[in-house]
């Protein structure tokens, strides 16, 4: 829990940001409600409770995926990790692509080897003003605090322990290298993930819900998208935890209705209701195998 104060500060930073930076999509989720009463200790705690899963509770393991494992997946990674959800993140592109001085000169890096820090330093050296202005340095600064380097989804070996990632945010719970939910940020990535899982052959025999949340690739949308993903993840986790509890020694007989049906079959429902809350981010879903 040593990370707590930092996280709280982080959330305070984040909360007002979207209101200022993104005029078109109103941030609708209930998550936002206590933002004004942040000053009071009690309120802050309540806020933290809502958005954070206590460590003694059941937790789904999440994986966020975008094209370059830089903006959208990392924003979501941060938000999920801040909620104490086990999270890993990937990109599905062939290379890490970041905007360069012109459209035709992107900055291109290799996955799995180039660290966020080295990218940050290189870009800062190249043109500090430009990359500060377009938010890249800020983004990279955030990323290097989350994990070491961008990872490629296709190179991920499910089930391979991730002990060497112990410094990453959201590592707790992902040590076995398995996930329950993959959240992609673009249909292209969704397709790439499904395809790659076919290629991987589902060797773990472990079901994984792949969910796409369409997010435009810019900082503002990533921030809003990150909140949407957090909203979705918390709901999913809530339902999964309910299943665990309902089916405990006493729960099975007493539970009824929705609680009676399990987590997996409720996922489409959850996505559908979530979609009504976030209509600007069209969702897709598939049960795949890792």
């Amino acid at each position: 829990m040593s990370t707590d104060p930092r996280l709280r500060a982080r959330q305070q930073q984040l909360a007002p940001a979207p209101a200022a930076a993104t005029p078109p999509p109103p941030p609708p989720p209930p998550v936002e409600a206590p933002a004004q009463s942040m000053g009071m200790d009690g309120a802050t705690d309540a806020h933290a409770d809502r958005n954070m899963v206590p460590d003694d509770k059941f937790k789904l393991k999440f994986c966020t995926v975008c094209a370059s494992n830089q903006n959208r997946s990392m924003e979501a990674h941060l938000q999920l990790a801040s909620a104490h959800l086990p999270t890993i993140s990937f990109g599905t592109g062939s290379l890490v692509r970041l905007p360069g001085p012109t459209v035709t000169q992107p900055n291109v890096y290799h996955f799995n080897s180039t660290t966020y820090r080295s990218i940050h330093d290189e870009l800062a050296q190249q043109n500090t003003a430009l990359y500060t202005h377009n938010g890249l340095l800020n983004m990279l600064g955030r990323n290097l605090a989350i994990k070491g380097f961008p990872e490629r989804f296709q190179d991920w070996v499910p089930g391979k322990p991730r002990l060497e990632h112990a410094e990453d945010k959201g590592w707790q719970g992902t040590e076995a290298g398995v996930v329950d939910v993959v959240i992609t940020c673009e249909e292209r990535c969704f397709d790439a993930v499904l395809e790659d899982l076919h290629n991987k052959g589902g060797k773990l025999n472990r079901p994984v819900h792949v969910i796409n949340v369409d997010i435009k690739d810019n900082h503002e949308e990533a921030l809003v998208g990150g909140k949407a993903i957090l909203d979705l993840a918390l709901t999913l986790n809530q339902v999964a935890a309910e299943e665990r509890e309902a089916h405990g020694e006493s729960g099975w007989e007493s539970g009824g209705g929705a609680a009676r049906s399990g987590f997996d079959e409720r996922v489409p429902d959850i996505i559908a209701t979530w979609q009504e809350r976030w209509p600007q981010m069209p969702a897709l879903w598939s049960l795949a195998w890792s």
């Binding site: 070996v157 499910p158 089930g159 391979k160 322990p161 002990l163 040590e175 076995a176 398995v178 249909e187 969704f190 397709d191 499904l194 395809e195 899982l197 076919h198 290629n199 052959g201 589902g202 060797k203 773990l204 025999n205 472990r206 079901p207 299943e243 665990r244 089916h247 405990g248 020694e249 099975w252 049906s261 399990g262 987590f263 997996d264 079959e265 996922v267 489409p268 429902d269 996505i271 559908a272 209701t273 979609q275 009504e276 969702a283 897709l284 879903w285 598939s286 049960l287 795949a288 195998w289």
Partner: protein, 756 residues
């Protein structure tokens, strides 16, 4: 107590996570704790099932090692499956069983005596298969994956049984006479289970979970079991991913439908990418396209329509009652239309279905601006109700049919008599359907341009025939013919650039006009000009060939049009097209000769007719005329450096005084004197028959053109010195008249004197 135990277990697990090689030692240590007992806490059972699933799925230790440990956990798994009601325990146990099954299977393959473990495995298998249809979906998906593993190992993997791949656990590893696992029954079971798997995607789609889970498990089977690939693919291609389109479009169904569609697409794309040469890819592509269109249909429609109410309808609120399908067709009230009044009926009456309506008085002519009319008309047409329109059309059609039936003749006659109705004034078609006879009669009786005022159209319409086009007048026919020729030459110019360079002359071996090259077309066109009408004239007319141009007989005109085309074509770029000129003139000459010969023959034969007035000895047909025209056309453009003129003069088939005298004219330009002289010199040297003419021309030039005297004299000195001699006496008078050139001629005279 349990928390403490879990902590111990966790530390054992992290050891194994740190290095997979510890699993074989950790599993036996953990098993006594996690092994099922009735008084166990659920946490330990969950941990145990999760751990087993994780351990046997882990890529960090080799399958051989796993195989050795696999048998030891079967009892625990079986006990979990049979005794624990908790769903997450079951799920993990089934996952673990899916990982363990191939391992135990291979163990049994290599150790046929181990009946005990196979029995345990079989018990687990049948337990799981029993759950397949009854368990909650969360468990069933895990069963699906187990099924996939069973199908995988119970289907032959490699097609060549002599070279089994030992890393691929498949039916190919099983010997035919295995005592525990008979090949045939395994194979049959594999088939049966695959069918069961495939049945899922054709079954209920309402939760999407099983369908997408199954689809996502098929990719690997197709890839690794080519034997089964076709069966699976056929099943997938016959599958309707948008099955839910017929059920209410709730948000959940929308998500499920989109998801199933997308999952199917990902699967098929993966199959195509893995094997781009697969012959079935075409079918897959078709399926994907069809699916895409269906998806657009389904979702576009759902976007346009208000979604059906998803809450249960109690029937109390009529506003909320769902409309029944049977009611739908009669929704639009039938269009009522009064019957037509008896007697003659105007078009307007025929089409007016609602005589009381306000639109009856709508006069289109009020709109002077067609744009304005368009702006109104297009939205109106778009808003027309299809069914209403159909009804209206059928009413008009039936009206028309009955009307036709009730004596079309009389109405037609009456109609003609009736003064033209107000809105029929505009109805004045250009061509009335008439039968050919009528048309001919009319054409006979009337000048072709003067169409009679058409009577108002009768309602007795015959099946519509396109009216015969009016006959072309002579001028029109000629105009169109000219256009055709013009186009031919246009084509020629475009062909030129691409073909000219490649041509290799075949000499006498070539056949004229065998390809589409420029030369071929030139040949065709020049022969068309020269021969097409040749010999068609009477011999007597042939006599008049000389004057044919002027008399402009119709049959000859086309030749002349082509000639004109050729002339224009050559003149457009005469230096480059001099070869065209030459071949054309050759054709002309040849034709003239042939004609002249046949004329000679006919005059010989037909002398009795008394038509002896022809002048066959003088073949001044088209050739002469054309050559002169061409020379006259070209010469103004000839520059003093244009040696190509020599080529023209040397290659045209016949030259006479009249043609060559043009050179004298050319020589009046002092710049071109030398060219003229060298042309004449060339002709003198290489066309001996022309020598007299050449020298005559030269002499004339010498006489008449003072500036050319010097050049001409050089040649005349050699060829006809006597001219110079003659002139010495006469020239002085001229010299004295003109002054400036006098010196020259005086010198010349002196020279000549010296020579003579």
């Amino acid at each position: 107590m349990s928390a403490q135990t879990i902590q111990q277990l966790e530390s054992a697990r992290s050891l194994a996570l740190g290095d997979g090689r510890y699993y074989p030692t950790i599993i036996p240590g953990v098993l006594p704790i996690i092994g099922y007992s009735a008084d166990q806490t659920i946490e330990i059972q969950r941990w145990g099932a999760d751990f087993l699933a994780e351990a046997f799925a882990s890529p960090t230790w080799p399958p051989e090692a796993k195989e050795n440990s696999a048998s030891s956990v079967l009892a625990t798994l079986k006990a979990y499956l049979e005794n624990v009601p908790d769903k997450s325990v079951i799920k993990s146990a089934v996952q673990a069983a899916a990982s363990v099954y191939p391992l135990v299977y291979r163990h049994i393959v290599s150790d046929p005596s181990d009946a005990q473990h196979w029995q345990l495995m079989s018990a687990i298998k049948s337990n799981i298969l029993r759950r397949m249809d009854t368990a909650t979906p969360g468990v069933r998906i895990c069963c699906i994956k187990f099924l996939q593993q069973v199908v995988l190992v119970q289907t032959p993997g490699v097609l060549d049984p002599r070279r089994p791949d030992h890393n691929d656990i498949s039916l190919a590893l099983v010997s035919r006479d295995h005592p525990l696992i008979p090949y045939a029954s395994l194979e049959a079971e594999g088939h049966g289970l695959l069918d069961r798997l495939l049945d899922i995607i054709h079954g209920d789609h309402s939760d999407g979970l099983l369908v997408t889970g199954t689809l996502n498990s098929l990719g690997m089977l197709i890839h690794r079991r080519p034997v089964a690939a076709n069966k699976i693919l056929n099943s997938v291609l016959n599958f309707n991913p948008l099955k839910l389109a017929n059920s209410p479009m709730s948000p959940k169904n929308k998500v499920i439908m989109k998801s199933i569609e997308r999952t199917t697409r990902a699967l098929l794309m993966n199959i195509m990418k893995r094997n781009p040469e697969n012959p079935v890819n075409g079918r897959i592509q078709q399926f994907l396209e069809r699916m895409h269109r269906m998806r657009i249909d389904v979702f576009d429609e759902s976007n346009r329509k208000r979604p059906a109410p998803s809450e249960p309808i109690d029937g109390l609120d009529p506003a909320k009652r769902q409309r029944l399908g049977a009611e739908a067709p009669s929704r639009t009230p039938p269009v009522a239309a009064p019957p037509l009044p008896p007697g003659p009926v105007s078009w307007r009456q025929l089409y007016t279905l609602n005589p009381e309506g306000s639109t009856v008085n709508f006069d289109v002519q009020a709109f002077k601006d067609p744009e304005q009319l368009l702006r109104i008309l297009v939205p109106v047409l778009q808003s027309v109700d299809g069914t209403k329109l159909d009804q209206a059309i059928s009413i008009v059609r039936s009206r028309y049919a009955t009307f036709m039936h009730s004596g079309p003749r009389t109405t037609a006659a009456q109609h003609a008599a009736v003064p033209v109705a107000e809105d029929e004034e505009e109805y004045e078609p250009d061509f009335e359907p008439e039968d050919a006879e009528q048309l001919i009669n009319k054409l006979d009786g009337l000048p072709p341009t003067d169409f009679p005022a058409q009577t108002a159209p009768t309602t007795a319409l015959a099946p519509y025939k396109l009216p015969e086009a009016p006959q072309l007048s002579e001028q029109e026919a000629q105009k169109y013919g000219d256009m055709t020729i013009h186009r031919a030459f246009g084509m020629l110019s475009s062909v030129e650039e691409s073909h000219k360079s490649k041509v290799t002359k075949g000499g006498f071996n070539r056949l004229a006009a065998t390809d589409y090259s420029r030369d071929a077309w030139v040949t065709i066109l020049s022969r068309l000009a020269t021969r097409a009408s040749a010999g068609l004239d009477d011999p007597e007319q042939g006599v008049k060939d000389e004057y044919a141009v002027k008399s402009a007989k119709g049959s000859l005109k086309i030749s002349d049009a082509v000639r004109d085309g050729l002339y224009q074509y050559i003149m457009y770029d005469w230096k480059k097209r001099i070869d065209v000129a030459i071949s054309w003139l050759n054709e002309e000459w040849y034709n003239d000769i042939i004609l002249a010969q046949s004329a000679k023959d006919s005059t010989k034969n037909g002398a009795a007719n008394g038509h002896t007035s022809s002048t066959p000895g003088e073949p001044k047909g088209n050739y002469h005329r054309c050559a002169l025209r061409l020379m006259d056309g070209i010469l103004p453009y000839v520059e003093h450096t244009d040696k190509i003129l020599l080529r023209l003069l040397s290659e045209v088939p016949a030259l006479d005084h009249e043609i060559l005298i043009r050179l004298k004219k050319m020589a009046e330009d002092p710049e071109r004197i030398d060219l003229a002289c060298s042309a004449l010199q060339y002709l003198y040297m290489f066309r001996p028959p022309l020598r007299t003419i050449v020298v005559d021309v030269l002499a004339e030039m010498w006489k008449e053109n003072d500036r050319a005297k010097q050049s001409a004299r050089k040649l005349l000195v050699r060829w006809r010195p006597e001219v110079l001699g003659e002139e010495t006496s006469s020239t002085p008078t001229m010299k004295t008249e003109e002054g400036q050139p006098a010196k020259e001629s005086a010198n010349g005279a002196l020279e000549v004197k010296a020579v003579s």
